[in-house]
């Protein structure tokens, strides 16, 4: 209903809408159902084939192009067939020369057309193959060129990365937070006092503390060492450092320092030491524990076993874990005593580019050297610096 009857159509549509509202109100169907039915998508898989298999079609043509070819004459009738089949065969034999003559042109045409189609198809395929091969060649050449460019760029990238690492190392050496002498530990203690040097030995760090004007005393199991300290005017006591710590009033210390000692403690003592350190430090107090770094393999060859009292090395992460589980936060690892470069494997100098392969080989060798250097000749010592939270937040002192 259009044109002159458009009003009628409008009215019918309005009526249809009213009826739909009525159905919805009566519960014939729900709005959800309306949405579901309208939104339900048609799911189908695209039909891509063109219906004909070209090779099969050509094979059929080759089998059937000759209308006068011999055909197999059979019959499905059991009795009549015995008569009909020989008769038909005879007829076919008699008529075939005539049929050949009559269908000569058609046979010629069919044969020619089939032949032409086959030749054309093969020609087309050859041409397509040629084109594909040409394109493939072009693509391969482009691929090799790109590969070469990529190798050059990758080499350059590696050089830049190494250069950056060297620059960063140099910078770290200049103004690094890594303390290279016990004096640097003072910064971590941040002027808190008093400080206990647990296992003070010959009292070298006590001297540093005294020079900085920090109230401190030491405790060491070796009576001789303690006596020698005292002879230099340092406050050093002979005794078990864990027992001594236990005897101190709670939250009475500003800092605890223990250098090259924890690797001599039993596991129980180690645990007690960290627990007691937390109790005896005042809020905001600092615990600083230094030991030999077992992730630097050369320490086993020279440093660690020189001292018979050292029982076992402690992995940096284990010590960090002890501090953290003891309630310290934050906890930092400081890497100390780097092995000097002359003790490490030297890198191969690449003066000029010899070729992609050789370049890659030399870079690999150098990468391997770097890894080996890090593993064997890294930092001999490390220290854990741990702060007791001061209750106002867990920020370490500036």
């Amino acid at each position: 209903m259009t044109a002159d009857r458009r009003e009628d159509a409008g009215e019918l549509l309005a009526r249809a809408k009213e009826r739909v509202d009525g159905r919805l109100a009566a519960g014939v169907y729900t709005r959800d159902q309306v949405e579901r039915v309208s939104g339900l998508a048609l799911v189908l898989k695209e039909k891509r084939d063109f219906g004909i298999d070209v090779d099969e079609g050509v094979a059929w043509l080759h089998a059937n192009w000759d209308p006068t070819r011999s055909v197999e004459i059979t019959s499905h009738r059991p009795l009549v067939g015995k008569v009909v089949v020989p008769a038909k065969k005879l007829m076919w034999r008699l008529l075939r020369p005539l049929a050949k003559l009559m269908l000569l042109k058609q046979t010629e045409f069919n044969g020619h057309a089939t032949h032409l189609l086959t030749v054309a198809l093969n020609d087309l395929r050859d041409r397509m193959d040629d084109r594909v091969e040409q394109r493939l060649d072009t693509l391969l050449v482009s691929h090799h060129q790109l590969q070469h460019e990529h190798d050059l760029l990758a080499g350059r990238c590696r050089e830049l990365r190494r250069e950056r690492a060297r620059r960063e190392d140099r910078q770290r050496g200049a103004d690094a937070p890594v303390p290279e002498s016990p004096r640097d530990y003072l910064a971590y203690l941040g002027g808190r006092q008093p400080v206990l040097d647990a296992g003070c030995g010959e009292g070298y760090f006590l001297e540093t503390l005294r020079a900085a004007g920090i109230t401190a005393w030491g405790v060491d199991a070796d009576a001789g060492a303690a006596a020698r300290c005292r002879s230099r005017g340092l406050d050093a006591r002979q005794g078990d450092m864990v027992a001594h710590l236990d005897s101190l009033p709670e939250a009475s210390l500003g800092g605890i320092v223990s250098l090259q000692v924890v690797e001599r403690l039993s596991t129980d003592d180690l645990n007690r030491f960290f627990a007691l350190a937390h109790r005896k430090l005042a809020p905001g107090g600092c615990l600083l524990v230094e030991t030999v770094n077992p992730t630097c393999l050369c320490t086993f060859a020279d440093t660690f076993y020189l001292d018979l009292a050292r029982t076992r090395p402690i992995h940096p992460e284990s010590l960090r874990f002890l501090a953290e589980s003891g309630g310290f936060s934050p906890v930092e690892l400081l890497w100390r005593s780097p092995v000097p470069p002359e003790s490490k494997l030297r890198q191969v100098d690449i003066f000029h580019r010899v070729g992609t392969f050789e370049d890659a080989f030399l870079n690999t060798v150098n990468d391997n050297f770097n890894r080996l250097n890090e593993l064997i000749w890294g930092y001999r010592d490390y220290a854990v610096v741990a702060w007791k939270p001061d209750g106002r937040g867990e920020t370490k002192p500036a």
Partner: protein, 356 residues
């Protein structure tokens, strides 16, 4: 003088085949020599046609050749080599977009057809569309001059006896909602199914009969079936497939309403068939549907499925409304009658300078 016709597929019993034969007879009646030249010919049409290449023997600047265009073919290239006056009769090509994701070959063929059609612009003495909608497409492609000549439908043939078996099958039971077309995505068969879901909520005895071949669109047909299953209406839908002409007549006879949700039609022959068979139509107003059905059907623009279902139900309930549409249809048939059509054809030929 000759007025011939040329086409890629000369089929038996389809709209374009019938139109071509009817036109040839008209040309001959008017005293012109006229033949049909075709590339692929149905065996029943062999006697009525020649191979398209034969036309070269008759090619002369004074002659007229009508090219029925509904698909791309090598005839377009052949046409470019001829000296005669060429008339394109455009039966429309479904835009390839409808077939993308459904049938790659069909999409490719539609694309090719549209490209070929565009290449004919400027080479024709006249370009005719089956509908105003088709004519506008020709004009947009740059054809000039253009005109409208509806496709020929032989109404007398619809007076033949319908298939008894089909009539018997649908004589009892609920109302039949009919759709006739090949299974193709532009026909939006899935929207018929969705609408039928709401019809069934009110009339559980109603049936949706889909007449038309599924060849080459089997995947689309299967998807529509799956949708019907999912909506729980599959038992009410009949996929009748390809049918004979007497069977088609019987389906029209059995139908209470004809429903179309198609989104692209260049003419839509079933609309005219409905007029001839007295079936009221509810149709989505797309392509040439509106101008073909005129006031003999209820048209809607928005595809609101429950609302469309109500339009169908109103026709099932309100006999006087259905009857008024059928009456309008019968009157409207005259627009597609032989007299009107021959007059239009004569005018078009005269505009080319053909003397009668």
């Amino acid at each position: 003088m000759r007025i011939d016709q040329i086409l890629p597929n000369f089929s038996y019993g389809d709209a374009i085949g019938n139109d071509t034969l009817a036109r040839r007879d008209t040309f001959r009646r008017w005293g012109f020599d006229s033949d049909v030249f075709a590339q692929y010919v149905h065996e029943k049409m062999v006697a009525e046609s020649r191979f398209y290449d034969d036309y070269r023997r008759f090619d002369a600047p004074g002659n007229v050749l009508v090219y029925h265009f509904s698909i791309g073919s090598s005839i377009s290239a052949f046409l470019a080599t001829l000296a005669c006056r060429k008339v394109v009769q455009y039966h429309n090509i479904t835009p390839a977009a409808f077939f993308r994701g459904v049938n790659r070959r069909a999409a490719w063929e539609c694309d090719r057809g549209r490209r070929e059609l565009a290449s004919l612009a400027g080479r024709t003495a006249l370009a005719l569309g089956d509908s105003e909608y088709n004519r506008r497409e020709l004009e947009e492609l740059g054809f000039s001059p253009t005109g409208v000549l509806p496709i020929f439908v032989d109404f007398d043939a619809y007076r033949a006896a319908p298939d008894r078996e089909v009539l018997r099958r649908y004589a009892w039971g609920g109302p039949v909602i009919l759709h006739v077309s090949r299974m193709a995505p532009n026909k939006r068969i899935e929207d018929l199914v969705r609408t039928f879901y709401f019809v069934r909520r009110v009339r559980p005895d109603s049936r949706l009969v889909l007449v038309g071949t599924e060849v080459n669109m089997e995947n689309y047909g299967a998807a529509v079936r799956r949708l019907a299953d999912e909506l729980g209406v599959a038992d009410g839908i009949v996929f009748a497939g390809h049918v004979t002409f007497p069977q088609l007549l019987a389906y029209y006879r059995s139908a209470a309403v004809y429903l179309s949700m198609s989104e692209h039609e260049g003419f839509c022959v079933p609309m005219v068939e409905c007029m001839a068979m007295g079936v009221p139509v509810v149709a989505h107003d797309a392509g040439a549907v509106g101008e073909t059905i005129g006031d003999a059907g209820i048209l809607f623009v928005a595809k609101d499925h429950p609302k469309v279902a109500e339009l169908v139900l109103m026709l099932l309930e309100d006999k006087s409304l259905a009857a008024s549409l059928v009456d309008s249809g019968r009157r409207r048939l005259e627009c597609f009658g032989v007299a009107r059509r021959e007059e239009a054809l004569r005018n078009h030929l005269q505009s080319l300078g053909v003397a009668f």
